[in-house]
């Protein structure tokens, strides 16, 4: 009897060792500094997913370890990724708000046997850097291509493109040009502005002088978008009937209270609007709003993080908690699910997310707040950027 009890105990112990592991996920993002709000959104998305789905997969407990890279800093990102893998023993690397940060960590993946789940960084090429990269956010090509068609169909034939002079801005310029010329329009001029521009009046004058009937703009979300949109209105371009097209970075939800009336009526294309009408999104917004504290601060990185967690959970399920990056990535290829942003799937070829892109208009809600109102859906958009690069 005693022997039997001992054997049972031993079996239980051994079983415990084999199955009930703690699986660590390292998340790198901007959690302090000027971009802290976006890092906060990562955390809100992750917390929301874990609040709704529990922190265990099978017998394994999932633990998140956060590391802070305040601004784009590839060296720091690589060093922290290495530390997470070597010291903390993480099985998954996730997060990555800026492209250079994600790029810098990709050479580690194969040797470390760790998959990377990119929750934001939006340059097409990242997925080509390692077979272990899966992305659940969007690319600038993906969100900027549909607006070209919208612009052309809306009657604009001559467009001037104005972008911030850095990687995603140049991507946006190229994506729009490709889409717009394919539709039959003409990009009369392409201006690249320095990132540090405060006064946009001279740019507005350039737009006016170019004789274009519409402008395509890309600026990173944050303080400068406010100045740009205001300058657009105050220099009389809006009244002159010049149409404004942009990807949704320009009207992200956390900037809308500040943009306010100036942004009213702006049309943008993007993969996610907090206002998206679906039961999944309602659940997500409630949970993520609670996690972030102030629901008005909720924005697109949260949904990238939420779906990133979904992918990680599926990977843990497929590998049974064992560290096997190849098997984990293989398991999510072609994975399709209903995200808060709508139906999505992981493209088996590119490992990038295929999703709906929505045309939205900034509208005023009954309670006086502003929101992105979805008015048209472009279904199942892949990433045209990878094909363009070939």
């Amino acid at each position: 009897m005693k022997k039997l009890a001992f054997a049972a105990l031993a079996a239980a112990l051994m079983g415990g060792v084999a199955h009930a592991d703690t699986i660590k996920v390292g998340v790198i993002g901007p959690f302090s500094g000027p971009f802290a709000l976006q890092g906060k959104n990562f955390k809100a998305g992750i917390d929301a997913y874990m609040a709704l789905n529990g922190n265990t997969v099978g017998d394994d407990t999932v633990e998140i370890i956060y590391r802070d890279v305040p601004t784009a800093d590839p060296a720091q990102s690589k060093a922290l990724s290495q530390e997470l893998v070597v010291k903390e023993g993480v099985q998954y690397l996730a997060g990555f708000y800026f492209t250079p940060d994600a790029m810098a960590a990709t050479p580690l993946l194969e040797q470390a046997n760790v998959p990377m789940i990119v929750m934001n960084a939006a340059t097409s090429a990242i997925v080509t850097k390692s077979p272990y990269v899966v992305r659940t956010s969007f690319t600038t090509w993906q969100t900027s291509t549909p607006i070209a068609k919208v612009a052309f169909d809306g009657g604009a034939k001559k467009i001037i493109s104005v972008v911030s002079d850095y990687g995603p801005g140049i991507d946006a310029e190229a994506a729009f040009k490709a889409g717009f010329e394919k539709a039959g329009g003409e990009v009369v001029e392409a201006i690249r502005m320095p990132l540090q521009t405060n006064d946009f009046s001279p740019i507005m004058q350039r737009i006016k002088d170019s004789g274009a009937d519409g402008v395509f703009a890309f600026l990173p979300s944050g303080p400068t978008t406010l100045g740009f949109v205001k300058a657009f209105n105050e220099n009389g371009l809006k009244d002159a009937g010049i149409k404004f097209f942009a990807p949704g970075d320009l009207t992200q939800e956390s900037d809308l209270p500040a943009l306010g009336e100036a942004a009213l009526g702006l049309t943008t294309t993007f993969h996610y609007a907090v206002s998206h009408d679906s039961p999944e999104n309602k659940k997500f917004v409630e949970a993520a709003g609670k996690a972030i504290g102030n629901p008005a601060e909720l924005s697109f990185p949260a949904v990238g993080a939420y779906d990133g967690m979904h992918v990680i959970y599926k990977m843990i399920e497929a590998t049974g908690g064992e560290q096997d990056a190849a098997k984990a990535v293989e398991a999510v290829k072609g994975l399709a699910w209903e995200s808060p942003r709508g139906p999505v799937s992981i493209d088996p070829e590119t490992r990038h997310i295929t999703q709906n892109i929505y045309l939205r208009e900034v509208a005023k809600a009954a309670d006086g707040t502003y929101y992105n109102k979805e008015i048209q859906t472009f279904e199942k958009q892949g990433d045209p950027g990878l094909e363009a690069a070939k």
Partner: protein, 287 residues
């Protein structure tokens, strides 16, 4: 021709915004000899107060501006009494370390209290409308800022050059010990000038908020621009600062219009050239 006029208007407006925000720093650095890197932080505090008053409490714009200036000075008084008074006359490095520390504290507090999102200061309808100048439209707010800049320049010039207090201030700056021996209460002179400088920072933060929007990193983001204006103009000189702002505004605006891809190249090229030709700034005095 129309293009030249149009760039001219933008340059004037941008230069005046720079002037209103930077002139307070010129006063602290030139007249009080304090390298006050927390200048942007005070401008930001002014912006936050105005935003809170106008947006959350629904007060009128003019009242919000007044509250912002008064509130920022009120906050600055204990800071001057307990922190700045220790660094008057200290080496520059000590001053830089102390004021940059204050800046980081203010950023942290602003981030905690107001959150990381942008704060706007709602302007009255009259300032929001585009005004037609015949050859182009410009926002009424820009014209308002140009007016503010001119008023500040004139008022400050009168205050320093023509009032009894201005005489005491200049005396205290040139030789504090001698001024004190002659019965000038130098600490009061310094406290008042500091309050004026901080008040100007707050005022600039509020009226310039349309171009430089208020968010926690405001305090650091535009610091270089403010310092450049002061060093190009010559610390402590009002005409110098005005000339620097208009010149740099013109160069920056023209560069941005003609060759935006070059970014701030022309701006900094001009700065290098001016500082090379005039090491003490356009109107700097020899020590």
């Amino acid at each position: 021709m129309q293009t030249i006029f149009s760039i001219g208007v933008d340059a004037l407006a941008y230069g005046m915004v720079l002037f209103v925000i930077s002139i307070g720093l010129s006063v602290t650095m030139g007249l009080m000899r304090v390298v006050n890197l927390a200048h942007g932080a005070f401008a930001m505090i002014g912006g936050y107060i105005a935003s809170y008053a106008a947006r959350d409490l629904g007060l009128a714009y003019a009242l919000a501006v007044l509250l912002a200036v008064a509130g920022t000075i009120l906050i600055a008084i204990p800071i001057e009494r307990f922190l700045y008074r220790r660094i008057y006359g200290q080496p520059e490095l000590t001053q830089v370390l102390m004021t940059i520390g204050i800046t980081f504290c203010v950023i942290g507090i602003a981030n905690y209290v107001f959150g990381p999102t942008l704060k706007t200061i709602p302007t009255p309808d009259a300032l929001r409308e585009p005004v037609s100048l015949g050859f182009r439209t410009v926002s009424a707010h820009r014209l308002f800022v140009i007016g503010c800049g001119a008023a500040v320049a004139l008022g400050l010039w009168y205050f320093i050059e023509r009032t009894a207090f201005g005489v005491k201030l200049r005396a205290a700056v040139d030789n504090a010990a001698m001024a004190a021996a002659l019965g000038v209460r130098t600490e009061i002179v310094y406290a008042v000038s500091f309050a004026v400088a901080v008040g100007l920072a707050a005022f600039g933060g509020v009226v310039g908020a349309e171009l430089l929007p208020i968010e926690p990193y405001y305090a650091l983001r535009y610091m270089v621009t403010f310092l450049v204006v002061v060093s190009v103009g010559g610390a402590g000189s009002i005409p110098g600062a005005l000339a620097a702002c208009l010149l740099l505004g013109a160069i920056d605006t023209t560069g941005r219009y003609l060759m935006p891809e070059f970014g701030e190249f022309f701006f900094y090229l001009a700065v290098i050239a001016i500082v090379w030709l005039f090491p003490r700034g356009l109107a700097g005095r020899a020590k």
